[in-house]
């Protein structure tokens, strides 16, 4: 983990080398904080830093300016060491208005650098942010290193020559701020300039203004009387390879494109826009030349039904959604269980219940994924644990769905979907092919012929001569696939559907430990996006000499075959999750073990420190 030094009082512009730093940009949703953050991210990634990001934005598209609920923030942890989380507490907070300051100040380290846009601290804005006094003018910020700059005026002056309206010119202030941050952390401006030129190719005046603002912010760092310390963060020691920056949603979309190529089978995506999953639809819609058809359906139900229809016709049906959408797809997924058709359902989880906190993260759909259907309807559930792992998890979901003729639910969450990290691009030639078998033999055909080993039924495709058949949601006869109301047959079919899914345990990797050794005192068992925070917390505890191990579950139904014996080797098992203890319920019910829960449901990812405190509390008490 980065050992970030808090900025010191002015010592001249000498450049100090740091292991890493955490920077948080906060402002109004209209202030462009997400763009600022992602530009800082791209530039840091190109410099070779390891990094993790956390975009934290409101559900309102354009909340009234200056309001507390309209604040949009972006945090990045970048380092010359490996980093696994966006960082607990920022070393630098950039607050573009009073509301951004109010809602984000508590995150900032004591002694941290606080950059504020003083121009935005008007009476009206202070009132909207519930400040009685201007915090820039009293002593309330004394615990921080305050750099109060009239960013608005500075930006107006910098872009004046372009002749933009003052409203348009004002919009460039995020690039002015970015320029200053680039100066402080010694980052080059070229990549951002290139991005601006491409992004606003049709508006050269906007390109010019933003570049002027960027350069002016950078120059401000050089020339102001207040000369702040500068830093550099050297590149991380990545293992050799070609890297790119990737977010979870982008990685998962590309994973599906990879699955189409690796299986030689086209994917049909039926989807309905929902936060925070829509970006997967947007991304896939761009790649019609990659063997994918995308359809924005009229609702979540039509989206899953379209995908299942495509699966029946021989393509890989895919649907992408978030919690409330998964609830609506329930009946359709049950049909895919009953008709034993391949289908991948991506749930980018968000905070619930009901509409909940659409832009905030949570892991509270696990039980819905496991059990949220009528009847006995088991299906495989897997959870990606990092943006890069999203790519491989998408391929794995398609592999399991087609090999076992089953719907698969793939879980990520808003934090994983929107968060980004540098990712070593895999060698496509070494990605395992997905073997897809279509049944074409009319001899002795019926639609419920099964593979003896996998128990998967055959996949006969409409258009194939000699294998016409009818399927549906009614129970079928084991031996003919015809409708059957026979009592013993229903037992047999229920048993075989369950055995088929349970048998996947033989076809997935054994559960391994990320850190620590088997048979220890405490195992911290996570799943999904909590990976980074748990890993770092366990690592710190181990440095203190505590006998603690970390494992991260990816396969949740079925569990890896060795999981029970692995857990049994530890005196205690702690399961942190962003819900009220859902994985713990599943583990306890399957293994009858006294597994302990650390459940947190705040719409925010775990901080390393709070996990560390909990682990130490358990072990040192």
């Amino acid at each position: 983990m980065a050992q970030s030094a808090a900025p010191q009082p002015p010592t001249g512009a000498k450049i100090k080398t740091l292991n890493g730093a955490v920077v948080r940009f906060a402002g109004d949703s209209g202030d462009g904080m997400q763009i600022t953050g992602s530009q800082f991210t791209s530039t840091s990634a190109l410099l070779g830093n390891d990094l993790t990001t956390f975009p934290d934005f409101p559900a309102e598209i354009r909340a009234p300016a200056g309001t507390l609920y309209g604040v949009s923030a972006f945090q990045i942890n970048f380092s010359s060491d490996a980093v696994f989380t966006p960082g607990d507490a920022p070393d630098v907070l950039v607050a573009m208005n009073p509301a951004g300051l109010k809602t984000n100040l508590s995150h900032l380290k004591t002694g941290g650098l606080l950059i504020v846009n003083a121009d935005a601290f008007s009476k009206a804005n202070l009132k909207k942010a519930s400040y009685d006094e201007n915090p820039l003018e009293d002593d309330s910020l004394n615990a921080y290193h305050l750099l109060s700059v009239d960013i608005g005026k500075q930006t107006q002056a910098a872009v004046k020559e372009t002749g933009l309206t003052s409203k348009e010119a004002g919009r460039c202030k995020n690039f002015w701020t970015l320029g200053l941050m680039y100066w402080i952390y010694s980052r080059p401006r070229e990549a951002t300039i290139k991005w601006l030129e491409a992004k606003f190719a049709k508006r050269p005046d906007i390109v010019k203004a933003n570049i002027l603002a960027l350069n002016a912010g950078h120059a401000y760092g050089e020339t102001i009387e207040f000369s702040h310390e500068r830093y550099e963060v050297p590149s991380a020691k990545h293992s050799p390879g070609t890297y790119r920056n990737i977010s979870g949603n982008q990685a998962i979309a590309w994973g599906f494109l990879a699955a189409a190529e690796l299986s030689g089978t086209e994917i049909v995506l039926g989807s309905y826009p929902i936060t925070p999953a829509s970006d997967v639809l947007h991304e896939l819609a761009k790649y019609k030349h990659h063997g994918i058809t995308t359809m924005q359906a009229e609702d979540e139900i039509a989206a899953v039904c379209t995908a299942i229809g495509a699966s029946y016709a021989g393509k890989i049906g895919l649907t992408t959604t978030s919690g409330p959408g998964l609830a609506l797809k329930t009946e359709g997924i049950g049909l895919a269980v009953c008709t034993e058709l391949p289908l991948v359902v991506l749930d980018v989880q968000r905070a619930g219940p009901s509409t909940g906190l659409p832009t905030k993260t949570e892991q509270s759909d696990l039980l819905q994924a496991m059990y949220g259907r009528n009847g006995e309807s088991p299906l495989p559930v897997i959870a990606a644990y990092s943006p890069g792992d999203c790519f491989h998890s998408a391929i794995e979901a398609v592999r399991i769905a087609t090999k076992y003729m089953t719907p698969v639910i793939l879980l990520t969450d808003g934090y994983l979907g929107n968060g980004a990290e540098p990712w070593r691009i895999p060698d496509v030639d070494y990605l395992p092919k997905i073997e897809v078998k279509k049944h074409t033999d009319p001899e002795g055909f019926h639609p419920w012929l099964r593979d003896e080993e996998t128990l998967a039924r055959v996949w006969p495709i409409p258009g194939t001569p000699g294998t016409t058949h009818r399927i549906g949601g009614l129970e079928k006869d084991y031996n003919s696939g015809n409708i059957s109301y026979d009592a013993a047959n229903h037992q047999r079919m229920s048993d075989v559907r369950a055995a088929k899914v349970a048998g996947i345990a033989k076809d997935i990797p054994a559960q391994s430990l990320e850190l620590g050794k088997e048979n220890g005192m405490l195992l911290v068992l996570g799943w999904g996006s909590t990976f980074g925070a748990i890993r770092e917390a366990v690592s710190r505890c181990r440095e203190r000499g505590l006998d603690v191990a970390h494992a991260q579950l990816k396969y949740i139904n079925p569990f890896p075959e060795n999981l029970q014996s692995l857990l049994a080797g530890f005196d205690r098992v702690l399961v942190p999750e962003m819900n009220m203890g859902q994985l713990v319920k599943v583990l306890r019910s399957q293994f009858m073990m006294p597994i302990e829960s650390y459940a947190k449901i705040e719409g925010q990812p775990f901080k390393i420190a709070e996990l560390e405190t909990r682990i130490r509390g358990l072990m040192e008490s």
Binding site: E261, M295, I308, G309, Y312, A313, I425, R470, G473
Partner: protein, 340 residues
């Protein structure tokens, strides 16, 4: 259950599955099944190139009885499944069966979007104005005041009319026929088959158990000539035993009105001629209800426009033309990358 046959030697038997038909004796669905099975060989589509898709309800059992590919899905969602099948493989001939409950109540949303989206799929809506499979509750097409188990004091719901609904949804082909009129039904289904794009055919179908005789008032043999208007494109809209009654447009009431040829100086030349491509006329014809009007049967509206499956296929082809066949390796290395 599976046979290998050639397109020019198809018979009714090639479309008849080995499954026992389980509708109630006397159900109107038998007549539709028989007509469809007799008609299908004409289309020259081999059974294995055809998919019948349905939702849930009595009518939705239909695919089990066709020896083609078939998918009996979930309640109301057949249009979405049919669309998925069609976009996955546009070469398949896709037919869909739904009912007034399945298609207009739980599935109304999907039917609406299916029709405006216009995939090349033919939908048959069996309308019996009642819920059959759940044993006799009123449906969205039941009349106001309908006394059923769930409405012992009469239904308070205003009924939905399938054909105006379909026109409102932007359907490119809307027709209406009667289950027991095999010849007329065949004519309409032939037209549906020829039409490129989504088609909706409403078929009045008697439920002899829960809503017997619902359509007798205009389908019974002794009255139908006077109470049905059999539409033919380009022909004057005349009806009645001696074909002396006809439709004219009354500009003052902005409505169709009925006149008698030979009375008040009215001649056949005064009678409106049916134009399938006239959407305004279609809306007027669709809303004609007995007893104020005869019930219009036949192709009420037909206008082709690009199909959803064709547009998607074309978009895919355009993307390939523009960017070349997508290469995963190139994609992963696109944009900003760095090598360690």
């Amino acid at each position: 259950m599976s046979k290998l046959i050639s397109a020019d030697k198809l018979t009714r038997a090639d479309f008849t599955s080995d499954q026992e038909v389980r509708w109630c004796p006397g159900c109107g669905d038998y007549a539709i099944l028989a007509t469809v099975q007799r008609l299908m060989p004409e289309f020259g589509v081999l059974p294995h190139q055809m998919v019948w898709v349905s939702g849930i309800g009595c009518s939705s059992r239909f695919p089990y009885y066709m020896d083609t590919y078939g998918f009996h899905t979930i309640h109301g969602r057949a249009p979405a499944f049919a669309t998925g099948i069609k976009i996955a493989n546009p070469h398949l001939a896709v037919w869909m069966v739904t009912g007034d409950g399945d298609g207009l109540s739980i599935g109304g949303n999907h039917l609406m979007h299916f029709l405006r989206r216009n995939p090349n799929v033919n939908a048959l809506l069996f309308n019996n104005e009642i819920y059959g499979l759940t044993k006799g509750q009123y449906s969205p097409t039941s009349e106001v005041g309908k006394v059923t188990k769930s409405t012992p004091l009469g239904s308070p719901d205003h009924p939905l009319q399938p054909v105006p609904f379909a026109l409102g949804a932007g359907a490119g082909f809307v027709a209406r026929t009667v289950a027991t009129e095999a010849k007329h039904q065949m004519m309409v289904l032939r037209r549906a088959n020829e039409h490129k794009g989504a088609t909706l055919t409403e078929i009045f179908q008697n439920c002899n158990v829960f809503n017997d005789g619902a359509f007798d008032k205009f389908t019974a043999r002794d009255v139908k000539a006077d109470r049905q208007l059999l539409l033919e494109h380009g022909q004057p809209m005349l009806f009645g035993k001696d074909r002396t009654q006809g439709l004219v447009f009354d500009i003052k009431s902005f409505a169709l009105s009925i006149v008698k040829v030979g009375e008040n100086g009215v001649t056949e030349d005064d009678i409106l001629v049916h134009d399938e491509h006239n959407l305004n006329l279609a809306h007027l014809l669709a809303r004609m209800q007995y007893p104020a009007y005869p019930v219009a049967l036949g192709v009420i509206y037909s206008e082709e426009r690009p199909t959803y499956d064709d547009v998607l296929t074309e978009q895919g082809a355009t993307a390939v033309k523009k960017f070349g066949r997508g290469s995963l390796k190139e994609l992963l290395h696109s944009g900003d990358t760095w090598t360690v």
